[in-house]
Symmetry: D3
Subunit: 278 residues, 6 copies
Amino acid sequence: MMRFLLEPVVRAALLEDLGRAGDITSEAIIPADARVEATIVARAEGVVAGLDAALLAFELVDPAVAVERLAADGAPVHRGAAVAAIRGRARAVLAAERTALNLLSRLSGVATATRALVDAISGTKAKIVCTRKTTPGLRALEKAAVRAGGGANHRFGLDDAMLIKDNHIALAGGVRAALERARRHAGHLVKIELEVDTLDQLAEALASGIDAVLLDNMDPETLARAVAMVDGRAVTEASGRITRDNAPAIAASGVDLISSGWITHSAPILDLGLDVAG
Amino acid sequence: MMRFLLEPVVRAALLEDLGRAGDITSEAIIPADARVEATIVARAEGVVAGLDAALLAFELVDPAVAVERLAADGAPVHRGAAVAAIRGRARAVLAAERTALNLLSRLSGVATATRALVDAISGTKAKIVCTRKTTPGLRALEKAAVRAGGGANHRFGLDDAMLIKDNHIALAGGVRAALERARRHAGHLVKIELEVDTLDQLAEALASGIDAVLLDNMDPETLARAVAMVDGRAVTEASGRITRDNAPAIAASGVDLISSGWITHSAPILDLGLDVAG
Amino acid sequence: MMRFLLEPVVRAALLEDLGRAGDITSEAIIPADARVEATIVARAEGVVAGLDAALLAFELVDPAVAVERLAADGAPVHRGAAVAAIRGRARAVLAAERTALNLLSRLSGVATATRALVDAISGTKAKIVCTRKTTPGLRALEKAAVRAGGGANHRFGLDDAMLIKDNHIALAGGVRAALERARRHAGHLVKIELEVDTLDQLAEALASGIDAVLLDNMDPETLARAVAMVDGRAVTEASGRITRDNAPAIAASGVDLISSGWITHSAPILDLGLDVAG
Amino acid sequence: MMRFLLEPVVRAALLEDLGRAGDITSEAIIPADARVEATIVARAEGVVAGLDAALLAFELVDPAVAVERLAADGAPVHRGAAVAAIRGRARAVLAAERTALNLLSRLSGVATATRALVDAISGTKAKIVCTRKTTPGLRALEKAAVRAGGGANHRFGLDDAMLIKDNHIALAGGVRAALERARRHAGHLVKIELEVDTLDQLAEALASGIDAVLLDNMDPETLARAVAMVDGRAVTEASGRITRDNAPAIAASGVDLISSGWITHSAPILDLGLDVAG
Amino acid sequence: MMRFLLEPVVRAALLEDLGRAGDITSEAIIPADARVEATIVARAEGVVAGLDAALLAFELVDPAVAVERLAADGAPVHRGAAVAAIRGRARAVLAAERTALNLLSRLSGVATATRALVDAISGTKAKIVCTRKTTPGLRALEKAAVRAGGGANHRFGLDDAMLIKDNHIALAGGVRAALERARRHAGHLVKIELEVDTLDQLAEALASGIDAVLLDNMDPETLARAVAMVDGRAVTEASGRITRDNAPAIAASGVDLISSGWITHSAPILDLGLDVAG
Amino acid sequence: MMRFLLEPVVRAALLEDLGRAGDITSEAIIPADARVEATIVARAEGVVAGLDAALLAFELVDPAVAVERLAADGAPVHRGAAVAAIRGRARAVLAAERTALNLLSRLSGVATATRALVDAISGTKAKIVCTRKTTPGLRALEKAAVRAGGGANHRFGLDDAMLIKDNHIALAGGVRAALERARRHAGHLVKIELEVDTLDQLAEALASGIDAVLLDNMDPETLARAVAMVDGRAVTEASGRITRDNAPAIAASGVDLISSGWITHSAPILDLGLDVAG
């Protein structure tokens, strides 16, 4: 991600950890001019993401800290692999350490979870996509981590595409009315997706014309029938409690996309640590 | 949490979702004066946390939205339980929905994970405490969620207590030197904790005097010996890859605290949804 | 627009005018408890837009000021028409006056200019759309003013749709390569538009498949040929120094959209003033 | 303008265009290491202003982009003249392009409009001054652009000088009472100007003593009489729907200043573009 | 001061005291629904200032807290006088207490110090004015406190008036050159003051014409001669280590203004406390 | 202090002084390329503090300004001593001058006042500590200045330690109940101090166990008795209208700490100025 866009997020994260007084332990104990060489090391197997944000934490605390990437976002790493080298004043490196690792391990966790789902459906044409169920404050970074893990991005917010859900349909008085109003207001570069719960709704949507359909909580057989009904006239997205176990069968139904909230809202972190050279 | 402190976090989360143009789907489809009654409902069993933040999302989007708490932070909920009622303009309710749920489900996830660990060690004197391995930007909210789940809080950042770790010891030239410098700089309301990897280090720390010791990655037997050595002269904290499975044995060692990064960095969310009345 | 999104813009505009010391003239001359009734009046014919922002200026300075809309965004007004009534403490009303009028007159100017172009092509199927050539800091407000004037919105920024221009094509090594890379990276809800300067480029784009084409600086005859080539397979947008004079001929070519930077970057304001009752 | 003061404005403008995800078109299509050499070129005749702000946009996105001024603020340029050269990573240059041009073309439009009025009254002693009818958020930049165009600045906001208008006079109960209160509260470095609609009011103001008088909406003959009445005892400012056509006659009346809202609120932009070398 | 301008300062002050976790003592000890009635009481004699800011602290923490002014800014108070009453939730009142008192006691200290100087020169025509030697972040509030104490304000910053000092004169090559350049650039509502160290410089300044002269570090006799030389052609300001002791003699020299940095940079606070009813 | 934490404070202070238009005097008079060499010089004897913040002011205005420390925070300086050298563009140096000096002289004033109290009790075991009675917005900087003056820090805010005062005790229903609730909620790294007004309260506190006691407004004899009662079981802090005169007797009572609000809320500045070389 562009450093310009990362900076406000990393700055806020640092301030949250440094508080009013900064790292009082290091300032008490470590001489001001002590220097360290450190390495960020994976403590488990996974996929790295968020290196730009993590390394920016060191640079913001002290522009004189030198950082070197030893892996790239999206790279698979094994336990023990070094992903970045950090050199600089010990106080600065330790002051940024936790913020950097919190960012890196969470975003790598998202990438690792995404990669696991992507691998589970390899050989099919389906792609794994994320949702808006992201960590408040970290959406753009998590979306980038999903890409690093081999996934694709859904819309970034409420304002960059239309996704018509059950409540919209109910309040509009039906699929047709909802779609008509959406199309009337949508700019020519705004796509419209509709969430359907039944094949009847799907038929109604297709009759009105639609860019994409979100097939919610359907079993693989129903999904296959939906895909057949759509017949290439819209992008098809399967959704609803996707796991590594059920993903292959869902992908086999022929859908274009499988969306998962789990990869952003519940992925465990990838464990990474900072090793300081003796 | 005090609303004054929550507001910047919730405001930023809303802006992230609303982008430049706001909820273009609802504005296209839903009449400006349509109103809804909605309920936030648990879709799984767990412990609720973060209600203040979640409900503030609705109020910030539209102060005229009425919110009612049906559960309190820390309350155990069953699948299907209603935790809050929301009434107001449909556009406002839907614009805030995802932000509110993202906050609530993540924080309830933290509380639920904490409660699981707390329950696992019930009957012992040990308490579950969190770490600084929190989500960037959400630390204070996650610390409150840990309390809602029955846990206790470790320090909030680098500035409100001293935690002397291996790197500090190495750069100071030993436990004694590190402790002496720490004590010289620490204000009289600042406690000092020391991370020890061996019982020899522990002996050295106790000889110098210390408020708390973090016993890192020790097995239950070593922990028990450490507790015996400490003999009430310091708070004892066990740390390192705590799980629901190994927590009881660790607690049985007699430590005062068991710290877990997992409850904040890797807890899955508690699934909650917004049901809109017909 | 949603008040939540307007507030930061209006707040910054007020701070810019009030400086450090506030309205020193009114505080010197007007008693603290003096009250006024005032009316915002159009001093020329046009279309109103930006009322939410303008009235918010009064409310932010003093929540006790009462504002009443006498016209709605998008309403055509004649010279002398009252568009809003303001009642409250004289110091507060005068402190917000210029900020409110600066917002309202500029946004109404955008709506008025848009309406003029919309009227110029009435009877054709073409729609007037805006560009990213907006006033720095006011993009979302100007986009809303364009809609109030009867126009439609292009993308809101660099991140919500892809628009492939000459530089992209040159750096990619051709239309086909550029389109292929774009399609590979674009999320399923991201549309892709391509700027073409010649009918050969258009043919190449159509062969690859494209959501929309921006036909740059073509005369009406070439546009008509382009529209015929496209034959409904993509949205067609004519662009380049659109005026009220040349718009009808361009619209007659059959394009779907005519984009104008002028309506946002060079529209004169609609003159509006605040009349204070005696 | 001082870079320190420009930075918040330019940063906000960039964020508005880059949104959450940045320039998705360029990131999809252009290799990360591709570089460009580009030139900002005038596409019409006018006066340049705002170069500092425009070039800062490139530097903020990527400090490694090299920018070179080929013209200075205030310089008259012909169609085709290069005003700045930009060299750096293609993605960075294109990400900042529109923000830079939006700032530069608007501010150059202000300078160009100012220069046109200045030229229209050359040979008289009158100066063109701006008003507070500026673009919300851009006041200081537009004031600098007015100076670049050969004009002078009126007060910057409500807090740095007193301008007593009709509403103040009415609420104070007359010119004399208003002036007396103003003088009592004004610091010794705060000047006081009074808006007068009639020569009677002018006489009253002069009797009380005043730094400057704003002669509102008077015809050239009345203005000449006003100037004679003032006889050097106050600065005289003519105001009210100034155009290039009526400005010479107004200037010939002998007023010191002619103020124009049009040069900031309704000046069309100066068309400028970015040419990327092959 | 206008609440709109106070709010950012008070908000920042509260955040500084509340930190990440808020008032942990009160939240541990005081029931959430306990209420208090409290009074802000002067513990010494002085002049009150800053009540708006102080009371806003309570309102920002909890809008339900009721505040009542029992004195006004500028009012002299005796030891034991109640200046405001506060009623509301105990946790909210105590959370805002220190921030409110820090603001109120400092600003009242400024007003009290100002009043002491004002009283010291009563009977002369001189006025006490402040300088730019104010507390970083609190300038506008301290300027208002100076007015509350009976003093007047100098310029608010570097941008609202010109003050030509020794370094400007040296870099310009003399008083005349400096004044000429200043006059050429100054807007018609910008006053120009010149600092003079000798009567020769004063003569040079008067010959060029000047709005005000700052007579720096002159003894009363020299000041009297300077006042005679000026003879009403400029405002005269005496400056330099003003104390209550030397102020009367300086005022007797006939100067218009006596400026004091001490009243803002070194005034002791006025002691005020919060008494909570039993 | 860490530059990262200083920057927001210094930036806000600069913006407050520069306003919208910046240093209009220097920009009018001083050529853009004029350079100066300047020295910050003490004009009185004292202790320096705040150099990092002061020098950052110059660097933020213009990164090309070179600053050199000639003294360190905490250094005693005599009248005439140079504490820093500044070289760079004259406009930049003068634009930052007042902000830099306002920060430096206030923080050096705090350090100087602290040092005076520290010296007054030399030879005793007592330490001087500060309070939360700091300047709004400058707390962390003033706390650092206290350390530079040889003092120690009390808690930084309401959230990093518990201090139980009379109101808490009253609302809890007694010392014991208050302490019990505090201990139940306090994290293991949070210390608890209790304010006691009488020896009876002290006895009750000691019976419950406590980290520190604030002995409020006791005379030296009572303090000595309190110290004897405590007998090393808690840190003892004397508080209440400490002056250089009464401090020695208070220190002689044997207390560990003497806290003073005066050193932060009422210390006069240390006079420092900027001398520009010819």
